[in-house]
Symmetry: D2
Subunit: 377 residues, 4 copies
């Protein structure tokens, strides 16, 4: 049995919260081993992290280009690389590994420009590589139940979507930045702060569970004395004619990470709250509200099997993330073994999803900057 594969990490120093998140998610199923990395631009930190993770010193690289080349050249080189560095570096790093024929898992957002994303997608396709982008939330088992229920017609045709992603972390910086946040620097964050950082989570999540694409968007942004947007309200029209609103904010008192998605159909509605991620509110037309739980016996076998813990025990973000990696790694193992991955194996966000995210950011910023007119996506 050859279940285990090898991977490398770009970024992911032990101090990096996002790097640890990837590492813990990969560890959860213990099917991939970290054997190479370029963990930090600081040489000492880089070495220390490699040491901490038991990576052989000659595979702790000071430069990601060198790493891509050398790992590609090794017979026992890495099967995939996870990129967990700041946003503005994603494109160059991802391209380098794809060019060298190494599968890529990239933290969201993929990159800043549509043509960059298209280039990466094209590269991955030409070389038949896996190219994943990690939007965490659809990894929750219950979100997959939500998607399954919509596909099965449990809420009928979608007629309205209302989603919000609210945080309060910048409430004490209204009027003036304290300079502590790299996401406020256009060089590092791109043309948007909040559309890009949390708005894209909404865009992908809704598209994932409904299959709908945004047709046009009318957005209004508040910068409150900053260079980039920190509060965004949007009206939307989807490709099936349904309307809706998205709201992303970092100045919403009372909301720590209040990501809520409500999908309304002509036969019922579904509602999911990130802070209670194992539960789903479902209301069929003319029937009581239902609270559906992850892992419950009344779910389909497929849905119940997505669970990792006994029912009623909170799985949390680590497991949601691990669910993505489970599928990514299964896909990689199957491809390596010459097997064809199933649709279930391929259920993870990809470069195409990253590209749609960039288009969303572009359209939203364009609308906000043009006096909140409607912009086609």
């Amino acid at each position: 049995m050859n279940r285990k594969i090898k991977y490398g990490l770009i970024g992911g120093s032990t101090e990096s919260s996002i790097g640890r998140k990837h590492k813990n998610a990969i560890n959860f199923d213990e099917r991939a081993e970290l054997v190479a990395g370029c963990f930090s631009r600081n040489g000492d930190t880089n070495k220390a992290v490699g040491d901490y993770y038991n990576v052989e010193p000659d595979r702790v690289y000071g430069d990601y280009r060198e790493m891509a080349e050398k790992e590609a050249a090794r017979k026992d080189g890495i099967d995939f690389v996870s990129i967990t560095t700041p946003n503005f570096t994603h494109f160059e790093i991802a391209r380098e590994f794809l060019l060298n024929g190494i599968n890529v898992v990239c933290e969201k957002p993929l990159c800043f420009e549509v043509d960059q994303a298209e280039e990466l997608i094209k590269l991955a396709k030409e070389k038949d590589l896996v190219f994943a982008v990690t939007y965490t939330y659809p990894g929750y088992a219950v979100v997959k139940v939500m998607k399954e229920m919509i596909e099965e017609g449990k809420i009928g045709k979608v007629i309205n979507v209302d989603a919000e992603y609210l945080q309060d972390s910048m409430l004490d910086q209204i009027g003036a930045t304290d300079g502590s946040i790299w996401r406020e620097d256009p060089k590092q964050a791109g043309i948007s702060h909040v559309f890009g950082d949390i708005g894209t989570h909404i865009e992908y999540f809704v598209r994932y569970v409904t299959g709908l694409h945004i047709k046009k968007i009318c957005a209004i942004s508040d910068k409150f004395g900053h260079k980039l947007d920190i509060n965004d309200n949007m009206l939307l029209e989807f490709d099936n004619g349904a309307h809706g609103t998205y709201w992303a904010s970092k100045v919403a008192a009372g909301y720590l990470n209040g990501f809520t998605v409500r999908i309304f159909g002509d036969k019922g509605a579904l509602e999911w709250h990130q802070q209670t991620p194992d539960y789903l509110k479902y209301t069929p037309v003319d029937a009581p509200i239902q609270i559906i739980s992850r892992g419950a016996e009344y779910l389909t076998e497929k849905s119940a099997n997505l669970s990792r813990l006994p029912v009623g025990h909170p799985e949390g973000l680590t497991i949601a993330f691990a669910n993505h990696y489970r599928n990514i790694i299964t896909t990689l193992i199957k491809k390596k073994n010459g097997e064809k991955p199933t649709a279930a194996d391929l259920d993870f966000p990809t470069g195409e999803d990253g590209l749609e995210g960039i288009r969303f950011i572009n359209a939203a910023v364009k609308s906000a900057d043009s006096g909140s007119t409607w912009v086609e996506m």
Copy 2:
């Protein structure tokens, strides 16, 4: 002591849910006696209702014009009239009573046209009459706490407003009307169904608690095969520069009467849900979420005194409505006795509020009809 005053009712047959609501609200404090009415266009019903309510037969009128004239002529005529008939009749009836010098309490929406509303307001002013319009929800004691807290700066400057009024009553009529709803008939309902029926509750409530006026609006409506709107999503800008979203819908599965208002400031936020109307969610910046209860000892004396029932016992809609009538009747008694009503006595919605509601409906419909462009209000 002359605490009690006399009133008449237009509409309000025992079968009318809105008529009963007014009657029960007035009864709650037992300071006004029903002595005249024009309860139904059907003569037998009219007579039966008068009989049920112990109204003298000669003061049960077949025609509101006759009633206005005769009651105005009596020495012991009514002090005020409550109008609870369908929307399209409000203007004519209210005008008739105002012309005859009788104070008016009118169910919302006041009327259909701005100039009609202005005419009524002018009439009431000229004749120094009370002219109230009954938007129920700000009658809840805790909503007044909300207003008080915003005035006191507890959430700082308002920076975003998010409010929704969701019902599901028309979910089974997507695509085709069953003809059962008079609000779908432009003759009876005016230019809007949902903006007018429930959207105006949002408009008044937010203005009441924040003091902010809408500056411009961008609305998108869905009619789903009907003549008038049944789902409305809106972006807004307020006169202090803050943005926000309103959403009014009658096709939102899972929401029976889901009226929720969230006011975000730069120092905190407040949130109220109509289905748990005695509680207020308050989050001061950098502090835990608080759940504030009607009648609690930690409230200001003024706020605590608004309560009618011991803390923890749900007051319900009847009491919210009775709170409006308490103030209206106190104002009327004071004026009758030559006293000056206080600001607290005058805390009830008036013709001016009704007028602002009409302007809101007009702007919203104009925006929706013009391809969802921004319309100044």
Copy 3:
């Protein structure tokens, strides 16, 4: 049509919260007219209240005995009396009116002694009088849905009951009373404070919805420096063999009027919270939790008809109370007209329920006083 009947009030000064509660509940349907009363032991107050309520001066009595006799002697005497005075006076007053052949509605608790209650019940029976005791909470429409569902077997056989009634009003009097509460005085309150005041609400409610009677009880009480109990925890066994716990407390921080009842059966469970009284949590075995709403279309016609307000609008305590009076008054009118009341008309708590409450208090106090041993009820 002779729909209206006449009643008198004992207690119920305009300052009395419980008196107003009865008055407003009776007013709600406007089928009974207040024509006599003994409102206060203070002559001036008594007169003022009579005046306020438009009661003829010769029917404002200084003494309840005189009132009972004189009203019984009048041809147009009262059809029933509502007793809203402090607990220790209930027995004498109720007896006097029953002896004079007048129907009685008595605030809970009925009285202090089993033999007193039995005497009143016997009297009412002999004279064929209505003798109601007002436990408010089962008046909520959704509580009747709960009872109906249990009767229909929706949760199977009841196997456990967990109920609590928690308040925090005495939290600042731990260790020493401030003397402000008459319920702490055994002369006025009887042998128990909290078992009697709020514990009996639990006892009646559970019996009402399940039909189960308590077989034995093991109680432990805390007095925290007071003469009577202010916190009571109980284990119970019911007559069908099921077990459960009741908890009544006035020192539970965080609970204003936290009355919660959970009934567990072998096929499902039902849960009701007094602070959200229009909703019912229902979990059928192997199915999602459901939130059932008062007045919803999916309810039986019978259940839906119990509603007074459109779905989603909180009815509140006044309407729960009015529902009891609706049935009491319908029963009285039918009896007056020689008709037989239906089972639905007779759905209100009676003297027998008051008696069971006294037995509960006695058993609970006996258990607590005897070192928390099991006491048969």
Copy 4:
């Protein structure tokens, strides 16, 4: 830097949910490496698991005694062993490793008999070994905030405790077992099913956060046709004189893993729900209810530092478990390096806690079996 230590696993086949839970928790911080194990009584499975986990074949043992001896004899032997086998095997295995001088982490319940537990504790003490027992729930960061707040006097003196642990997994086995559950077999489960399996979680949790010990207990159990208890209601008295109730059940419809603890003091109350484990409900006397969040800025630095994920992102059970192992492993590393562990390092449940759990089970079963009399603990 010598941060990493080595461990072995007893049980923990990849099919074992509890074994995986331990493995994932240890993995989370990557400071301990699995190098030996006795994973299954089935030789093939044992070998396969060892292979899966990359354990050297000569350290995959068929017998735990052999493993204890050989690992003790190796210079690079394991630093600790985690025991995740069925309950009835814990004692023998733990004793063997302790006898061989190896630190032990044992899944709860520790064992069946008081003298067994005492023997293990004595052994560990004599040999200066770490002997931990894994009660999961106090590992949640917010539970430690709860403990800290009680210690700081935020709720004053504890006056009542109400805790429940409700599941519904046996609801379809009322009246007859389907034989699927080993916990129903006294040989494997001991004298109790539900007291032992979930009741002990309540006992430890309450003791952990309040520091209170149970003085006496009065319990009533339902077996519903099974050999051991499946529903247990209890009254309690604590060593400070406070009273309370515990309830443990596997037949509570609507509760998947409904572990709720409410601690009431004379200055406030605290409430924690396992299904929303990152939040704490706190009510100070005469102030609004507060919702406290894990990781929030308003917490003490100590409390905030316990967090592993950004605020508002659910940590879930894996992280709660990892928090225990973080402390256990830090303690082991410090001891190995000759350093003294701090009180914070030693914050994990131990053999003494396991012993108290056995005493609780014994007292509860004795009470239930003796007609629900009070039994001293």
